[in-house]
Assembly symmetry: C2
Homo-oligomer: 318 residues x 2
């Protein structure tokens, strides 16, 4: 832990599906004591055994200094929200992505929590103002949106509502940085936050190119994975263009801005993805990967993410 | 060489700046004999010494099976276009990105070449129809647009004009695959081709988020390099979403399409990057990286690209 926050206090995981259980690993790996709660006991029962599997795989990839058992020993399953939250410094909620469900949880936490607990929500789209306003706890709630799985992919978007206090943002920033996440500050609530807006922009163009018969899904994927994605995976888009013109980003923008604006203008009349359009993309993808092979390919992806994380660690160590 | 094309015939590099000299390395590494020509002898003189430097760095990163000297021995500088093209199977042109310059070159090649030479243009934006129409050689010209440097980043976009023959596309596809590039077929000419259109889409949203004060350049870069960019660097955007919903890409599109369309609609009125907007981004970037440090950071980037390429090779070997 590089932070100065008192991490002797436990953190609580509320909602123990894939996202919540993934967060549990991220916190426990950093030495924090983690309580795991889910309204559905069948889900919370699976969380720790699943976490142990992931910890073993991480160990095999050189992603864990401690033993998997040592990390797992920090995980405790509890059977009530009150028990999870009592004396906790922080709650990471990953319950169903529905306004009413998240609102009810905030009211419940507000009732059972003591005065200081902070709450981060894994919400990938619903802003905190939609479910956490006008409660005693409102100043201590924000969005802490991860990419799955958070113990491998470090980014986390912090999105305060207008009622979130600055202390909360500062606390969660330090907590997340302390456990090794890469914190992105989204300064105002906006649909899709930053991550999904960027993804939406790329997908929109990709889908349009496919519909117009310009390129296949596979060729568009190649363009990214064998080209654009290389720089983006260690620099991001602004640094990429800043280094891509002798005079830096302004030089680049002056030269390529008009082309990019013209490209943008050509996409104004795009409609939503309709059934026929979706069917065409689906058909193209299924030629590369059958429906039966999806699960196997997901295992391959997870393996590649572990390798990527291991390469990152070794690059950071140099 | 994995291809069945007769690669005993040499290839010609016309235009020997960074892009052309980079192509020379990519061809020579694969065992082809390469002739290098530039209208400006000061540029062609620098090409081979520069290539040797790169080859040494590649060797140090495990990216070269042969010795740098052995590869460099395949490179020959020539002093006329006729000498470069005579008896060559293929010409890769990387002259100035200007229609009149490229048109004049095509007329010159048409005059000096024998009947069968194929021509790929490194043009990143000008389509072949704009400079290679209505010549004897027109059926044998297409765009072969690389990412720099082509000996590290494998993607190459092949973009035929309406006058390009199918045989030309097939030949250049085999040639590029044979030297280890990743071929993307852009089936129709379109402004920006596929690669720069995808980049334009992501940058457009990134710039808009910055202008609206949603996030800093650095935070937007983090969102990509510590989040989105991980999957894109080995899967691309379509495979990413195909694996991100239990029922594959159609399942994903049905669930997230409406959100993405709503995000797209919010960007319709975006104007071009104007001077004030560019100045804001420039100011933000310069806080992270001073103008004096740009060159050093470019060396860092090139080092990371070498590492990335080495990791790719080792992953592919498993």
């Amino acid at each position: 832990m590089k932070s100065t926050i008192d991490f002797n206090m436990p953190v609580a995981i509320v909602g123990a599906g894939l996202v919540g259980a993934g967060w549990a690993i991220a916190f426990a790996r950093a030495g924090l004591s983690v309580r795991i709660f889910d309204n559905d006991p069948r889900i919370s029962e699976q969380a720790i055994p699943w976490a142990v599997e992931q910890l073993n795989a991480m160990k095999a990839h050189g992603l864990l200094e401690q033993s998997p058992e040592e990390v797992a020993a920090s995980l405790t399953r509890v059977t009530s929200l009150a028990e999870a939250v009592a004396g906790a410094a922080y709650v990471q909620e990953s319950v169903l992505e529905r306004v009413d469900v998240k609102r009810r949880l905030m009211e419940d936490i507000d009732r059972v929590a003591d005065g200081n607990v902070m709450v981060g929500s894994s919400s990938s789209g619903i802003p905190a103002s939609a479910f956490a306003s006008d409660l005693g706890i409102s100043p201590r709630v924000l969005i802490a949106h991860p990419v799955n799985p958070p113990y491998l992919v470090p980014v986390v978007e912090l999105v305060p509502s207008s009622q979130t206090s600055e202390e909360t943002v500062t606390f969660v920033d330090k907590l997340m940085a302390g456990i090794g996440q890469s914190v992105v500050h989204v300064r105002k609530e906006i649909e899709g936050f930053v991550l999904n807006r960027l993804q939406a922009a790329l997908l929109r163009e990709a889908w349009a190119l496919h519909r117009e018969g310009i390129a296949s899904c596979e060729d568009i994927d190649k363009t990214v994975r064998d080209g654009l994605g290389w720089r983006w995976s260690f620099m991001g888009p602004f640094e990429t263009i800043d280094l891509n013109a002798l005079g830096g980003v302004a030089d680049y923008a002056n030269r390529l801005g008009p082309l990019y604006y013209s490209i943008a203008q050509s996409r104004i009349a795009d409609g939503p993805w309709d059934a026929q359009w979706i069917a065409q993309v689906e058909k193209d993808r299924r030629q590369h990967l059958s429906m039966q092979d999806l699960a196997k390919r997901r295992d391959w992806r997870d393996e590649r993410l572990m390798e990527f994380a291991a390469q990152r660690r070794s690059a950071a160590g140099r």
